[in-house]
């Protein structure tokens, strides 16, 4: 019966005997299809909405995302949602400030692009920190710049982290984990 099953799976099974005719070993040969890279990455992130355990700590985390670039905003939003966050996305600094000032919105984290026209990320963060405590909401800056003085300026204003663009999923997850953990909000 085993042989029949295996053969249906396009494999084979046989028993090799020793010189006395007793069964010595059994060999099972099965063929598997190697998954393509794309399939592998899709399965790795769950095919039915399930997410790996390491991302469940962000489930329900309310995040406000401000980025004036349509592409970046859509990609970053999707990334945060993939991590389980509840994301509100805006495209200007003014919309960002407006969203935060509404009492019913309580964003734990603000992901803020530094280089927005009219009112940039530095100004937005400065104003947020004027009205809110040093640690709430947590502010993660996004910048294409790798320069130290940008990072320093961000931290001086009271932002909690600086991420360099283009952002990767693991990078965002690591940064979120870090800032949440620091303020004792982490699990």
């Amino acid at each position: 019966m085993c042989k029949k099953l295996v053969q249906m799976m396009q494999g084979n099974v046989w028993i090799s005997t020793n010189s006395l005719g007793f069964a010595q070993s059994m060999t099972l040969l099965l063929r598997f299809q190697i998954q393509s890279y794309i399939q592998r990455t899709m399965y790795a992130h769950g095919t039915s909405g399930e997410q790996s355990n390491s991302y469940s700590r962000f489930r329900g985390l309310r995040v406000l995302l401000a980025d004036d670039d349509d592409i970046n905003r859509i990609v970053t939003k999707k990334m945060l949602e993939k991590l389980g966050c509840e994301v509100t996305a805006v495209s200007t600094g003014f919309e960002c400030l407006s969203a935060i000032s509404h009492a019913e919105n309580s964003f734990r984290v603000v992901v803020l692009d530094l280089h927005m026209p009219e009112i940039d990320g530095f100004e937005v963060a400065t104003r947020i920190r004027k009205f809110r405590s040093r640690n709430w909401p947590l502010i993660i800056a996004l910048t294409a710049s790798a320069e130290d003085h940008v990072r320093e300026r961000c931290l001086q204003i009271g932002m909690n982290a600086v991420l360099q663009k283009p952002v990767l999923l693991q990078g965002m997850a690591a940064e979120l984990q870090r800032v949440l953990h620091r303020t004792g909000d982490g699990v």
Partner: protein
């Protein structure tokens, strides 16, 4: 080895984009974000990119014809363009954007103009390749999901 011939072709096409330097890891990032909730995420983002960035290209073109040359404005446009291009993993386009910004910073008008011509070429080439890729993906059909034994 992929059984479905169209899928195989699709894989080879995709691989060539990376091997020939048209796309970088950021494109893979987009693929990783695609899921059942957004099954066409990659194509949607790429389509949006070409739609949005075409306006930028036009603005840059107009700025290049204006006298006197406003290097700061050009640099600002290109900064934005580079950002979007980088988000979809457009490697060659991104490289040309970087070069263009260098020429802006050094006030090299000739360099800017030459570079921009090359950038437009790369931009158009990538567009054609990706359009063919997405079309083939649609023909190849949805991927079969293996039934995992419980």
């Amino acid at each position: 080895m992929e059984r479905n011939p169209l899928r195989r072709q699709l894989q080879m096409m995709r691989k060539s984009f990376f091997d020939q330097g048209y796309l970088d890891d950021q494109f893979v990032q987009l693929e990783e974000l695609q899921d059942e909730a957004n099954p066409n995420f990659v194509e949607e983002v790429v389509t949006l990119y070409y739609r949005d960035s075409s306006r930028l290209i036009l603005s840059i073109e107009q700025a290049l014809e204006r006298k006197p040359f406003d290097f700061n404005k050009l640099d600002a446009y290109m900064h934005q363009f580079k950002g979007s291009s980088s988000s979809i993993g457009a490697k060659k386009v991104k490289a040309e954007s970087t070069l263009f910004r260098e020429y802006c910073k050094s006030g090299n008008k000739e360099g800017c103009m030459r570079c921009f011509q090359q950038l437009k070429k790369e931009y158009a080439t990538l567009r054609k390749k990706l359009e063919a890729y997405f079309q083939l993906a649609r023909q190849a059909g949805p991927m079969e999901t293996a039934c995992r034994p419980k």
